[in-house]
């Protein structure tokens, strides 16, 4: 008990202070109602996102500001990593693998667009995050690669080379990166759960639950798409889904695959969350609207878990996980709003997309 207090008292106090500085719904509302991207950026001046305004007013480059946000996000978690030690630090490190994986996905997408689809990617190239997170991914070499072998050469010495090599035949067969990206997700969660195994019993239980819920939500989202849009077979769906979920396992996916429509698949997967299903049933809309609704409901379910963590025992890994998820949500929301402002989307429409 004493060691948990010693281990988490500082980071708990620090993160709770930071949690209190997360932007409020009222702030986002003001941002959404701002008249233009210029106004929105000025509003950000008085927040921790002031650097975005500085970049935008100097360069007018929204994508540059977006890259800055990505950098800040990684820095935030690097900062958390500094304040913890031992296996907790290992866990935080595993959490930041998420950003490496996301960055790699972006780079491989650019390579695929250029080398396979023959598209011009030069405008997107500058916005790759080039700082090493865990492994030196040699992204410039990767995007310039002639073929899959070139990509493998760029990834040599990193665990991603094996993932790519394993999925290369699938990429060529499907002419799509889908299998590779799903494999990267599975790699990330395997790494994360590996780090969870090294945590002490209480932390491991808390982390497994939240990560399990996150994986469940990810799988629910995918399974609905596999079934209703990609027409994937059950075995493919089970193969692509991320294992280690909290409640959704291969059998649950199989049961959901028996259903015909989006709503039924969702209800089958979420049957333990009666309130959520009821909420879903109340909404009658077209398939796309239902998908958006499903995403909102899944996010809501995740936030419920986060809320439980925040009111639970304070000296555990829970606070780090809760902060990680809440900050990620805030950054995503911020980017959605700023991009919407850039393209002059109406406030009501922005709200519906959040």
């Amino acid at each position: 008990m004493a060691s948990a207090v010693r281990k988490y008292s500082f980071i708990n106090a620090k993160l709770r202070t930071r949690l209190s500085k997360l932007l409020t719904e009222e702030f986002f509302d003001t941002l959404i109602r701002s008249h233009s991207i210029i106004d929105a950026m000025q509003i950000l001046k008085s927040t921790s996102y002031a650097s975005l305004e500085a970049i935008y007013s100097q360069t007018g480059d929204m994508k540059g500001a977006e890259l800055e946000l990505f950098k800040e996000e990684i820095a935030v978690f690097g900062d958390v990593e500094r304040y913890v030690t031992g296996e907790t630090r290992g866990f935080c490190r595993a959490l930041t693998t998420f950003y490496e994986v996301e960055n790699l996905k972006r780079a491989v997408r650019l390579w695929f667009d250029r080398a396979v689809r023959g598209r011009d990617i030069e405008d997107s190239l500058p916005y790759l995050y080039r700082t090493v997170i865990h492994y030196d991914l040699r992204l410039d070499q990767l995007v310039a690669a002639r073929d899959g072998a070139g990509v493998l050469e760029a990834l040599a010495g990193t665990p991603y080379a094996d993932v790519f090599e394993e999925q290369l035949p699938e990429i060529q067969r499907m002419n799509s990166l889908f299998a590779f990206e799903m494999a990267l997700d599975r790699y990330y969660y395997a790494e994360l759960l590996g780090a969870v195994d090294r945590l002490d019993a209480r932390d491991a239980r808390i982390a497994r639950r939240l990560i399990g819920v996150e994986i469940d939500l990810l799988n629910i989202n995918w399974v609905i798409r596999f079934k209703s849009f990609y027409n994937l077979s059950l075995s493919d769906a089970q193969r692509y889904a991320v294992p280690f979920g909290f409640e959704i396992d291969r059998e649950a996916i199989a049961r959901a695959y028996d259903k015909d429509r989006v709503g039924e698949v969702f209800e089958s997967l979420m049957k333990k969350h009666e309130g959520v299903v009821a909420m879903f049933k109340e909404q009658a809309a077209d398939t796309n609207a239902r998908l958006v609704l499903i995403e909102r409901i899944l996010e809501y379910a995740l936030m419920q878990e986060v809320r439980k963590l925040l009111i639970g025992y304070p000296f555990s890994i829970g606070i780090i996980l809760a902060y990680f998820i809440l900050k990620k949500t805030e950054l995503r929301k911020m980017m959605t709003i700023l991009n919407a402002k850039l393209y002059g989307v109406r406030p009501e429409e922005i709200k519906s997309r959040l």
């Binding site: 210029i38 000025q42 007013s57």
Partner: protein, 678 residues
Amino acid sequence: MMFTTRMKYLVAVVLSRHVDELTKELLSLGLLHFVKIQDLQTGLETRVSALPLDVSGTRLSEIRKRIESFLSVIGTSPAIQNDVVVERLRPVDLEAAEKYLDDVAGRIEGFRERQKMIQQEILKLEGIRRQVDLFGDLGAGIRNDSQSAFLHFTFGLLDAARFDEFSAEMNTFPSVVLPLKEEGDSVSLLVIGMKRDEQQMRTIFSKYKLTEEELIPDLSDVKGGVAVTIDRKIAALTEEQKSLNAQSQAVISGERDRLNDLWENLRLNELYYRIQSYFSRTARTVLFSGWVPASRREAIEQGIRRITNGSYYLEWHDPEGLQKEIHRPVSVPVKLANPKILSPFQMLVTNFSIPRYKTIDPTPIVAVLYLIMFGLMFGDVGQGFVILITGILGALFGRFKKGMREIMKLLIFCGGAAIAGGFAFGSFFGLPGVIPPLWFQFESLVNPEVPLPAASPVKSIIQMLVITLYFGIGVIIMGLILNWINLIRTRQWLKLVFDRTGLVGGWLYAGGVYTVYFFATHDFKQLPGGMLLFAALGLPALLLIGKPIEEFFAHRKEHPATPFTPLTPLRFFFEWLLELLEFFTGYLSNTLSFMRVAGLGIAHVALMIAFTKIALMVGNNEWSVVGILIYAVGNLFVVALEGLSAGIQSLRLNYYEFFSKYFQGAGEAYSPVSLKGT
């Protein structure tokens, strides 16, 4: 000054035709803390409806904030000027205002677009550098340019006379033109561009008759040149971006007066409509109500009389009368009337809470106690002077918000208190003996190397701790007396007698202090005699049982269904036991808490001794340059760290030990709608 300002509640009825002029008059007077008639539920609310407003307050506020965001681009924030008069208020055309702001935003966006295009070029140049870096040997890259996915390399000869013209034209897209060698009238060049621009480049090559060479020379030293060229180009482009940013700021600067003027009018309109949002109407009349300091009643009446030519009806109520009339407690706004010089201490008080109406405003007492505590904890003439000067400079020249300005003023007071403390303890930048102590030398209590003068009134640290205990007891007793005054003024008679901080509580505390004093002055071996002990502790402790009984019946008065069962006396007993326990632990910790005053003082002296010793050790017990530097840094460290600690601890003693005895907070601040206020 000692109590909150006496307030009067006004209900006014005027004819509808006077609404506009009257709103302006009320805004100009800035005295009325408005309350919606409906909120008080006097019965009138059923016969009136809200006055419809011509303009949405939300929209006014949004446009005003938009102007603020524009002006923040050039680092200014608008404010209502001191000389503003309500006559400057004029109708605002919101459509036109928004159109104007859209136009300004559009002009800025134009600059941003150009900045963005330049940024694209910068990014492409950086891309070229990255791709060039990927090549081990640049020559090989040029010989086989299919090795690069994105770059096109050309090596060739150009007429040297046309080099500048050629370079300028190549500059229209991201490229690097690197002259390698002069060969007669020609110059050999390396041109690097993006593959997507190859066609355009070839057109320029043809135009300038650039002869592409098959034989590629050794280019091992060229990479650095490429990087330098790219850096130079990027620097130029960055400058261009900065210039565009400056131009966009100039747009705002050019519009500054108009923006400020529009902002002021929007703000005035916002206040005007805020006042009207409190108005209610009947078919031909308008009603409004609110609180006014009793001393300003005449000013309000005069204003209303002047605007309405006597066609008005006013009702004035005392808070007590109003409560009786509506049979409910009302929230009376609180106005603190302290001299301006005490504003930093008023900030400390309101930061804790607004005192309840009719209770004591502790600002002047806090000012005195806070400064005494600070002076005792941080007594040093030199360091106090540093704090004083910092405060004066900050207050005079700092561009701070209101809260920070008040803190700067507080520093001036704290500096003064530290100087006074320094004279009392004879301390000047931690050096003993520079100034003779007016009271006693603190250092001689802490540092065995400094002899204790025989005439010193304080001879040991224990004695110093005891002095702070006496000080604490004095503060707590003062808090209790203030509480009794508050309870008398708010007519809470039973609380006055039975509460932990009431008369019985005070009796028990005084008895406890006497008992401890008696015990300590009798070698910790003897307590006062039986009857005396009973009178000092036993009787008031027994009388404290009145508190749970009083609370029970007060609760029953509001909730008559609360039953009095055979177990209720048992409940009284246990609550009394708990009350006693809380009393003793609470008062004991409150009193001992004041020892921190001596503790901080000792820490301050000890830190200065340490820094002085280190400084002297560096120069073998002589003052050296490095020693003086260490001593100066040590002083700064102590001023910052100890100053902050003493400030916080003084505040803590006021908030928790002193306020907890009498302060009745949770009042609502008096906040009239005025030209300069809310």
